[in-house]
């Protein structure tokens, strides 16, 4: 029975803050613990999550020609999203518990966040078994093989998504995956293109303005900002993602340095590319940089993924660099790599790898200034 202690402990500590007391100095401790820390991320995820649910139902009903009133849309959204979330948490927790029991460590609350982040990065049509495979890869390879939450080098949710992206590209890209279409009603389906803003932008000719192309496809800037269009479940509404980011910054959970650095990286790179734009160059080069902020998953990624303290640098100054480079890489991948319509995922994973190096550099510089004491 004793080996199941982590499971018992996790269940108990879900309900109670345990009555442990300090045994030596410091005798008093802050009231904040990791569970509350992570709970705030979940709380901040609620706006994009709830909106994502509504949006998934809306797009599905739009594509299927069903009713667009609130109740059916929400019900439809629930039917689409809930299984994904349940699978993500269920399968993820299975691995968490397995590793906790075998390796005798407590179940960390970090997974509460991963388990919700992961489904929000997926298209609503994701087959459940693939979602299960993805979260398994994310939890096991992205985290547990390194020793669990706090010791991983890559963001587990993004690792899972990256795995799906490369393993099952047909289900993670293209125009057909972004809305659940059922009960084929001819005509209605034709009216629904299902193409995401990023894929439409990618098809624009050199002479065209992407802004105009998007507008023609009924994707004006304001719609991209608000998010009522087909895309990854949680990531379409840039506005709500930034609102969640603001909450996390206010309570001191997420680093504003990373978020502002990321936004600055996108805007600055976007403007620099504008200078490179010529008549025959890709339409991407002349895109208004603000479109980069609201299209695709950038807002979601910079708010919830890039700010993961475990995989981001720990030093304050290089957090600016880290955020900036994520923003820059996102734009560069979008603009110069037609194979990947979205860049934020790979940008964050790539920068995750550089976090220790960035930390190392800043620590060296800081140590140099100290008066040596040995």
């Amino acid at each position: 029975m004793a080996k199941w202690h982590p499971l018992f402990e996790a269940t108990e500590s879900f309900f109670f803050i345990p009555g442990l007391t300090t045994q030596a100095d410091a005798h008093v401790r802050d009231s904040l613990d990791v569970k509350r820390f992570m709970s705030f991320v979940i709380l901040a995820l609620m706006p994009p999550f709830l909106f994502g649910m509504y949006n998934a139902g809306y797009q599905s009903n739009l594509a299927s020609g069903a009713s667009l009133t609130l109740l059916p849309v929400v019900l439809k959204g629930l039917l689409i999203i809930l299984p994904l979330v349940v699978i993500s948490y269920g399968v993820g927790f299975f691995w968490e518990i397995l590793f906790a029991v075998v390796r005798k460590h407590p179940i960390s609350e970090g997974f509460l966040v991963t388990g919700l982040l992961f489904p929000l990065t997926l298209p609503p049509t994701m087959p459940l078994w693939q979602a299960a495979v993805g979260i398994s890869f994310g939890v096991v390879i992205g985290k547990e093989v390194f020793g669990g939450t706090g010791r991983n080098i890559l963001n587990p949710a993004l690792t899972g998504r990256a795995f799906l992206f490369f393993a099952y590209p047909a289900k993670m890209s293209g125009d057909a995956v972004w809305a659940v279409v059922d009960g084929v009603k001819a005509g209605a389906v034709d009216a629904f293109s299902g193409a995401t803003p990023l894929s439409i932008a990618g098809l624009a000719n050199a002479q065209e303005k992407i802004e105009a192309v998007l507008k023609a496809a009924d994707y004006p800037f304001i719609k991209l900002l608000l998010g009522l269009y087909a895309g990854s479940i949680g990531a379409t509404s840039a506005l709500l993602c930034f609102a969640g980011a603001a909450l996390l910054v206010v309570v001191g959970i997420a680093s504003y340095r990373i978020i502002i650095g990321g936004i600055a990286g996108v805007l600055l790179t976007g403007y620099l590319l504008n200078f490179l734009a010529g008549d025959s160059s890709s339409a991407w080069l002349s895109l208004n940089p603000f479109y980069h902020l609201v299209m695709g998953g950038f807002a979601f990624g910079i708010a919830y993924m890039a700010t993961d303290p475990v995989t981001a640098p720990g030093m304050d100054k290089v957090k600016w660099v880290y955020g900036f480079l994520i923003g820059m890489l996102t734009v560069l991948i979008r603009v110069f790599n037609p194979a990947y319509p979205e860049g934020i995922m790979l940008a964050i994973l790539f920068m995750n790898l550089f976090s220790p190096l960035l930390d190392h550099i800043e620590i060296r510089l800081k140590i140099k200034k100290r008066v040596i004491n040995v």
Partner: protein, 448 residues
């Protein structure tokens, strides 16, 4: 006067803060010396149970350097010597006589003091048993009297919660403090005296005595923080320090030739019967200070020496040599349903994740951990409060990995053990204990 601002740190705003009033206590029945609580010292007893002692008789000496002696804080009979595991000497309890006798030591008038040589003063302090009040940075050991330190730092106000207010313990003793600083100036060419900006400068203090005015949250007033903020070269690292109240004892010894035994200690904490300063004896029994019986409900914790740096004392124990505070807090061992999801308008915290962070009112703090230990998530809260910038989250890892060089490069020896990194850690890792352990291991290795 130099102004020093130490930005990082944290002032914990909690209930039970002692009022700036003093209350005298009657002479206790017995007092004690607690050799176990004096760091690094290897005591060799000079007395036996039943020995007759005067105030100032030698009780034990340090085997490592027998000139460092520890004297009796009371006149009477040795009632009991309490040994702990592996025969560590825990307590020497002295039953006080009605009329206590005193050993007399050489005394110095102001003019004699001005002419005295360093050697004669060192001799007087050693014989008078108060050399142990000096501590050497960074390890906190009692310094070697033959070495002249790069500087001596007097911190008048440590800013640790519930320590005696300088306005209280210096009241009417400003001339004694001045004399104390004169003594220090004989021992070292450089004497720094720091007081916190928020503390009132005691009346009657000679001009130019205070060299540094520090500002900022706890542990801004700490001697180690002052050294970190002021030092220019490695040669300054081995500075000595002495607390303001201890310096008064030293000055009293030199001036009167009598071993001083009066202590002003604070009684504080939300469960203390009263919260104020208490004038009592060195080594007084804790129940005597707490003003209550030991038969009280057991869910109280007695902390001697401050809530961040002190130790848990048994309720029938005594004040140790250095102790200036007794804090009584609730144990806080109750479970809390859905604690992580409550708004928390009464939770003491450094973070901004509770409603309480919007309030200015003091909160009741207990000794609960408020969570379970998890792996470090690199949130960096510890660095936000580290007054000596040692990057606790990274130094913790290098210390745990046994990378001594790396830890030292990070500034392990600048750490003042303020305990704030442990306090703020949401993963509930006792960072301060790891750093302290690494430092002590390094010190041991250096001595061998």
């Amino acid at each position: 006067m130099i102004s020093i601002h130490s930005k990082k740190g944290f002032d914990l705003n909690i209930t039970g803060s002692p009022l700036p009033q003093t209350s005298p206590r009657e002479t206790p029945v017995c007092v004690a010396l607690l050799p176990e609580k004096i760091p690094f010292v290897k005591p060799r007893l000079k007395i036996k149970e039943g020995s007759q002692l005067q105030i100032g008789s030698v009780v034990f000496e340090d085997k490592r350097n027998p000139v460092i002696q520890f004297l009796s804080p009371g006149g009477g009979t040795v009632r009991e010597i309490v040994f702990g595991p592996r025969r560590v000497i825990q307590k020497v309890i002295i039953q006080l006589d009605q009329e206590e006798e005193r050993v007399s030591f050489p005394s110095y008038t102001d003019s004699q003091l001005a002419d005295a040589s360093r050697a004669s003063l060192v001799e007087a302090i050693l014989k008078g048993g108060l050399w142990c009040l000096f501590r050497e940075l960074p390890f906190g050991d009692i310094p070697d009297p033959d070495i002249e330190p790069p500087s001596i730092i007097v911190s008048i106000d440590s800013r640790e919660p519930f320590q005696p207010h300088p306005a209280v313990y210096l009241k009417g003793k400003a001339d004694l403090l001045t004399a104390g600083i004169k003594i220090l100036e004989k021992l070292s060419s450089s004497v720094h005296v720091s007081i916190h900006q928020d503390s009132d400068m005691p009346a009657g203090l000679a001009k130019g005595i205070v060299t540094h005015r520090v500002s900022g949250p706890y542990p801004a007033g700490d001697a180690g923080v002052l050294l970190y903020r002021t030092k220019k070269a490695s040669a300054e690292n081995r500075a000595w320090h002495i607390s303001g109240q201890d310096l008064l004892l030293l000055a009293e010894l030199i001036r009167t030739g009598q071993y001083p035994v009066e202590r002003i200690v604070t009684l504080g904490g939300s469960l203390a019967r009263e919260q104020l300063h208490i004038v009592t004896r060195m080594g007084a029994p804790l129940p005597h200070i707490a003003g209550e019986n030991t038969g009280d409900p057991p869910r109280k914790r007695y902390i001697v020496g401050g809530i961040f740096r002190g130790y848990i004392a048994e309720k029938d124990s005594f004040l140790d040599l250095y102790a200036t505070s007794l804090t009584i807090l609730p144990e806080g061992d109750e479970k809390e349903l859905f604690g992580f999801a409550r708004p928390g308008s009464d939770k003491p915290t450094h973070s901004r994740t509770f409603l309480s962070s919007l309030k200015k009112a003091p909160f009741t703090v207990d000794c609960g951990v408020h969570g379970e230990q998890r792996a470090c998530i690199n949130c960096g809260y510890c660095d936000d409060v580290c007054a000596v910038d040692i990057l606790p989250q990274f130094t913790l890892k290098s210390a745990l990995a046994g990378e001594v060089e790396e830890s030292l490069a990070h500034g392990l020896l600048d750490c003042v053990s303020c305990g704030l990194c442990t306090f703020v850690c949401p993963s509930k890792i006792d960072i301060c204990a790891v750093l302290k352990g690494a430092r002590e291991a390094y010190y041991k290795e250096m001595q061998d």
